[in-house]
Amino acid sequence: MLPTDQVTLMLYGVAALAGLLVGGVSPSLVISRSVTFALTLLHSLLAGALIGVYLEDVAGVPVPPVFTAVAFAIAASILTAEAVTRGFPEDVAVALSVAFSTTVTIVLTYVVSVSTPTGMAKAMSYVFGTSAIATVGDAIRLGGAFAIIAPLTHLLWYEHKYVSFDPEGAEVMGVRVRVYRYLFYSLIAIASGALSMSLGVLIAHVAISTPGLVASMKARKMFLTSYTVSLLMFLGGYSIAYVANLPPSAGVGALSVAISAGVMAVMRRA
């Protein structure tokens, strides 16, 4: 067991990494009008985690569910991106990939529940998050995801804006729209996967949209606003969870909902 000061350090370290990860990726999610895309992630991460649980607990293949969850989320993201590229409206594309993921989830839920007594409990921890406040594993996962995602999202920010703003015009100008769609959806899938292992799929998909939604109201300082809101949301959320002895998903979820409600109130007045 870690001494208290190290626990505190770990807590705020993990919260800060989660805040930086979400702050960097959230504007991309929002400007591509892909908030409904979070539904793809919600369902695909769960399906992927169940595949991992099945492989690990039933088939005896030592593949950590985190890898299968992220891999499946990337596959579902590419499926969505391809459907959008082929002319499906995004909500229809999302519905297609959600249907696919949900089918996998239903089948594997049944298989896992009849095959192993602990499998379902393990899988459900990916839905609701773990009760551990912060672990070294969280820090490595979130830090690793941040190291991959942050440079790419910042380096390719203009491309992402162009593709979101005018995909046909961007294509005629020689921007590889399909490649960028795949890349951005995959980055969001990786971020969501890393986050889901700590917070659970349900809260991760809400938390990943919230800073971008606030940032879209401050168009000229999107990243600064997104990072600020995200850091406040995660540092505050983890603090609440620590003090109230709750899982971190509860603290972050509460703040995320409060921020979203605040944004809605402001926008309604405007």
């Binding site: 380096l155 203009y158 162009y162 005629v172 879209s216």
Partner: protein, 257 residues
């Protein structure tokens, strides 16, 4: 490279649904051409083929001697494209400078940063369309006519030989339509840029006397306004047209999607 834009018996389709059949015309530089026809006539489809997004299922399209689909990279180096304003997402928080810079930055590898030189080129392009000083405004804060001119400036930054515009003045009032047409006229005269645009409404274009290509799933006529806009031709191209005391009334706009 020759100086003509030519379609020879071109048929265009989305999957098995044929949208335009047996389209033939030839435009010789310098030209301003107007693709005219009712909603669903195939104007946007033909424009998508001209800029190399859509491949004809039959026939041959040639842009200055090159196939726009097979020689995409070369043709796109010569073509500036202005999409329908309705197809552009006005929710993306993007500044006028960023939109226009896209014309130049898309030619460069990432990271595509707006350097001092790019900023200077953006300002020049904006002054060509009469929008100097607006580079720091958000695109969404501009009027419809200004947004259209920003997209034209973006296309001009690529120094195109051919400017292709899809419904450049849909959803605009008549004054704004005339401003767009005057801007295009100036570009054509000062830069020698060939122009192809689509529209429902020919009246603002009377100022520039374009070559009119009248289409509705096929070509009905090609020629100057006075030769094409004749009642007997229009009745064929616009079968559901409104007629009041012998006058044919055209000029409906697209409804917002």
């Amino acid at each position: 490279m020759n100086d003509t834009v030519r379609a020879e018996s071109v048929t265009l389709a989305y999957g098995s649904r044929v949208v335009l059949e047996d389209v033939t015309f030839e435009l010789r530089s310098p030209f301003i051409a107007l693709l005219m026809g009712p909603n669903g006539a195939g104007k946007t489809t033909l424009i998508r083929a001209i800029v190399g997004i859509l491949r004809p299922i039959r026939g041959r399209l040639s842009i200055y001697g090159m196939d726009p689909y097979e020689d995409r990279a070369r043709v796109r180096g010569l073509v500036g494209y202005v999409p329908q304003i309705l197809n552009v997402s006005r929710n993306v928080p993007i500044t006028v400078e960023e939109v226009v810079a896209m014309g130049l930055l898309s030619k460069l590898p990432p990271p595509r940063l707006i350097t001092r030189e790019v900023g200077e080129a953006v300002r020049k392009a904006l002054s060509l369309v009469g929008l100097e000083g607006l580079e720091n405004r958000l695109f969404s804060e501009l009027s419809g006519g200004q947004q259209q001119r920003v997209l034209i400036a973006r296309a001009l930054l690529r120094k195109p030989r051919l400017l292709v515009l899809d419904e450049p003045y849909s959803m605009l009032d008549f004054k704004s339509k005339c401003e767009i047409v005057n801007t295009l006229k100036r570009i054509h005269e000062e830069l020698g840029t060939d122009i192809i645009m689509s529209a429902h409404d020919v009246s603002p274009c009377a100022l520039i006397d374009p070559v009119v290509i009248l289409i509705n799933r096929k070509v009905f006529a090609v020629g100057k306004i006075r030769d094409v806009l004749r009642p007997e031709i229009l009745r064929k191209a616009y079968p559901d047209v409104t007629e009041v005391e012998g006058m044919i009334i055209l000029g409906e706009d697209h409804a917002p999607h």
